[in-house]
Symmetry: C3
Subunit: 475 residues, 3 copies
């Protein structure tokens, strides 16, 4: 078995995130030791597959570690840094710009105290690059130069890192019309051990409210080679592309709309709205109804093709209009709103909640639903899994709250296992490591309070990074 | 004074659920020791009174411990077990079926790790039955045989257990038209020391949306011997039955609707809707308004007859329609929704919130209201009590959150004391024991952080299982 | 530098609120020691400025410590005490009444166990008055006499106490038409070192739904010497009064409406509704739209005059109508409701969220928004700060939850620093002391779990009571 990390920095304390109480910490250390070196299963994330397919060298610290990491650049923006100075939104920085961005980050290092990004970045610098210095105005150039030099070596090319990180499964997130050529390249290459699975993410093809819906439907038809001018053709094209993803290693579909209300339209009504939408004449209410209907259709298709369905609702995208206009989407100002699952999913689950092979993983940015809705649903429906804490909630205290809110109703086996959900490739081991430490800490507390025997905790710790994600994602 | 438990298993650690920090644990041990053997007051629950009145022997492990315990069977269902195989929904299993159900449970024992059911079941097996083995595929038969044999002995008949469990008060939950014959039998029998109190639960008689409303009104009239074809008669019949419950030892009424919005209709309007409802012609809006009006009427009656009013809102019943159709209600898929108390109860509390003798205990499945609504209400209104964590929230982490969310605003005296709310008779001592351990732990933390003196904590610990429930429920 | 407290009671444990784990406590002690004696910055509160301007002696324990403290008297009311007996609502108690009120409080001391008021009152009695006894029926008279005697001495006059408490900045909350004469008196008096800043609180002038709106608009015009019979005049008068506050030391404006929905009306529409409101003819919908529009106008003015904007939404005022009718507003029954910030503020923040110098501090009584909305907003917008836990949430467990919910997304620098928000003048040091202890405890946990180095924690601890509030409130 390969090792998850090859550099063991003395600067990072081996007990990070483990409980302070000495007795509990002893238990946690033993549990963590059992998980620490197991391969990484990453069943949901955003790493571009071409990085691995083409094994492209990374160019510089900023475009690798800052520009694509919205956790990092949004907090720098809150500190008053202009996003343009960080290379956000696609603008390519020259070497001077890249170095300047890196310095801005290092100067603002104290802003990250207490955040998860602090933990991840610290791990990347120490464990991946072997750096001992903390970022600061003084160390910015040294660190920059060190990373830039490392990136020119073969050890820091994407495939070498994937191997060093001991990633056994890595899922990407892909457009339904994607050719999946990179996935096929990777699958055909027996020299590369990581299984890279595409994820079917059809959001925009299910939203007739979009001005480009007709265009999207057309491109879907082209990809599937099916006429999508009728509702029946549109459905057939979606089924076709799902099969294509499955045939190319896909295991799940992902859906991120504002809410998770579900309903089924009469076929004639669905056809009528679809036609209106193509003509740009669907009302907003019709468009919403159609999208909610299509979420149920996705579940129906899942019962047929077996792809796992994951829901990531509740982010109000592009909150700050001027930033969206200047830098585009995914630039740090998607802000959560409250979400309702119980009523919203009743229709879908009454239809498919006990269907053979159907699996539905629920994620949320609204933690109030963990104990109130998600755990009760996952504690009854054999199809429902409580998704790991996500995005703003993927941090030590929030993870602790998640386990505290979900476990007592749904146990450990009804959860999804950890999801890194990241495009920050180098932080993947740090994110999984954080999760493992936190699970060890949670289980250790159960042991210390005599709620679980240590051998059970040990078995559960290993399950959480092996059988649990494998089952939830059908790996 | 009788002892709460007669078997002290060495297999269960004496410090279960007490804080891991050694100093805090020492305090917690002392506090727990002061509470551990005090009699059990169970002012809200679902044990069938006939079990005690007739002292019927329990027949087998499955029908005693699995089929009636929705906490247990819902999680087995989530693991893929068919509810029919667990004897859920009234189907009587034969001996082979019962044994097979028990084996399914034992095989899935690991699914309960980290849940409250794990704690309760472990306590039942060890403390009530003296078993040392953990459930597993290997031990299933041995445990089954051991329990089945015990159930044939006089020590395991309901009354003997009630005495052994040291239950001083046990409230049941009863239909308004119930004859309360079992309660009268028990009250008349001086050989049985436990006070068994009925609870008036009129939900379905207050919901004109039900198709059987006219029938229910009629049966209410028959029970009260009052003509309920008019609104005035309906009100008089409800008042009559409340008095009947009170005269037969009842102390409280219980109300579990989807929301707690309150309003008062003009008498003419109430009469008009009532007449329409009897004729099956009330609209859904009218039916809802009538139910909200009737909740206020229940409060009005409470100011007159002195029965304590308890609210348990916010469960969306029978979420999975096919399971409801196959197995009926209360089969593990009631799922919580968000609930609002501040606006909802303003009308009721403006009318009766400071009325002499009126008491209103608020329970919730939506923990967001603990700090936001319930504690502020209980921290002002002399009538309002913050109900103990209930159902999905009746578990160690959730109880800890409840104390953390409620105490700082409302203190300890404005809470209800523990409610087991269970029909799982054998788990009653375990549930109260869990609550006592958690309260000891919470108080010990206050002591360890010098927020409370230990003598105050000691007094409070005892109050929480004696004067606090006695005051909240007027015992 | 002056000392924050001059009496060190042996009765109060030096480790109050610090973590129980010995190793973590050691770190917390060191961090707390670094903060404990730093001057108090109180940038939002309700102390009447005339107390300091006129240095009026306090008259008696009840009118000083009970009648104005809604945290205390609401919980006594919940225990069954009549508010009239506590001097609530302006009724002046005679000496016998005052002593009787004090006795009622002391007799009910146990009701405060586990509450923040317990901590504050204990600190006031021990640290401010040097008392060693706990309140009880037996000690009530002794304590009363001791305090009453102290209040006749010069050391207990408001200015002497402000100096003893080491308060460097104290903000009051003031009506827009206030003459600010007391603030000017204090500013002109070089013998008094505390900076006393007024806060512009225009709520009622922005609510055309009020029956006295025309009158209020008129008085606003009179204060500004501007004709407010037109919308333009009304706006000019508000701008004028804001400037007047700023010129007299004001740094912020405060806004406490039921929600924080924002929108901008067309000028003609705003004028039309304003005219209708003056005529008493605005509909409720129009009044609400106008108020939401005016909140945006306040932000617009803030970008011009530089006053910091603070929002305190979500309290449903005067929940119990009969108490409101008998005792008036602010009498203990304002009860929180859920609040939404993400959608509500999108319009305001899209307009001004990145405007130079604009600062917006968000407070809430609905803790669900800490992790879901406030931290994500403060983690992107350079203008937005996550306000300290407020009112019902200003207590140890809630503060801990706040840090746990906000820090991981927004860090420490995007928070407001502590706000005591009190009119209980003598409790100000205790409230700030509680906050400092809790921040030391939180940081110590990060250190103990190796999430932060101790030198960083030390620097952050000091920042939290110096640079953080100074920056958020532009001091």
């Amino acid at each position: 078995m390969r090792k998850a990390t090859i550099v063991n920095m003395t600067s990072l304390h081996p007990d990070r995130l483990l409980p302070a109480d000495p007795g509990t910490r002893d238990v946690a250390r033993r549990l963590y030791a059992a998980m620490a070196d197991l391969p990484i299963i990453s069943p949901h994330g955003h790493v571009p597959p071409e990085w691995l397919a083409e094994d492209t060298p990374f160019t510089d610290p900023t475009s690798l570690l800052l520009s694509p990491d919205h956790y990092v650049f949004r907090l720098l923006h809150a500190q008053g840094v202009d996003l343009a100075d960080l290379g956000v939104g696609g603008a390519q920085l020259d070497e001077a710009g890249s170095r300047r961005a890196w310095t801005l980050f290092c100067e603002n290092w104290s802003a990250f105290r207490g955040t998860a990004s602090r933990f991840w970045m610290e791990s990347v610098l120490a464990d991946v690059f072997g750096l001992a210095e903390s970022p600061s105005a003084e160390t910015a150039d040294t660190i920059y130069d060190h990373i830039a030099a490392a990136l020119t070596t073969p050890e820091f090319r994407p495939r070498a890192l994937a191997e060093r990180f001991n990633i056994s499964v890595l899922a990407t997130t892909d457009d339904p019309v994607d050719s999946l050529e990179h996935h096929r390249t990777l699958a055909a290459d027996s020299s590369f051990a990581t299984r890279v699975a595409p994820t079917f993410r059809p959001d925009r093809y299910l939203e007739p409210v979009r001005p480009d819906f007709a265009e999207l439907a057309k491109s879907l038809g082209a990809a599937a080679d099916i006429d999508t001018t009728t509702y029946a053709g549109y459905i057939a094209a979606l089924e076709n592309r799902r099969r294509f993803f499955k045939d190319n290693g896909g295991v799940s579909t992902d859906h991120s709309h504002l809410d998770v209300v579900t309903l089924t339209l009469e076929p004639a009504e669905a056809s009528r709205i679809y036609a209106a939408a193509l003509a740009g004449e669907a009302s907003e209410d019709e468009a919403t109804a159609f999208r909610r209907h299509m979420l149920v259709e996705m579940a129906r298709m899942a019962t047929e093709d077996g792809l796992v369905m994951t829901l990531h609702p509740g982010a109000l995208r592009n909150h700050h209009i001027p930033t969206f206009e200047r830098f585009g989407a995914d630039t740090g100002h998607d802000i959560p709103v409250g979400v309702e699952f119980t009523r919203g999913l009743q229709h879908l689950l009454s239809r498919f909640g006990t269907s053979d092979g159907f699996q539905l993983i629920l994620f949320t940015l609204d933690e109030t639903v963990f104990s109130r809705e998600i755990a009760p649903l996952a504690g009854f429906y054999p199809s429902v899994y409580a998704g790991a804490p996500w995005w703003f909630l993927d941090a030590p205290e929030a993870v602790r709250r998640y386990r505290g809110a979900v476990t007592e109703t749904a146990g450990f086996h009804r959860t999804s296992g950890f999801i890194d959900d990241t495009r920050a490739f180098l932080s993947i081991p740090a994110r999984h490591d954080m999760s493992r430490r936190l699970d060890a800490a949670y289980l250790a507390q159960l042991v210390a309070e005599h709620r679980l025997d240590e051998d059970e905790a040990h078995e559960t710790a290993i399950d959480l990074v092996t059988t649990v994600p494998s089952k939830a994602f059908k790996l």
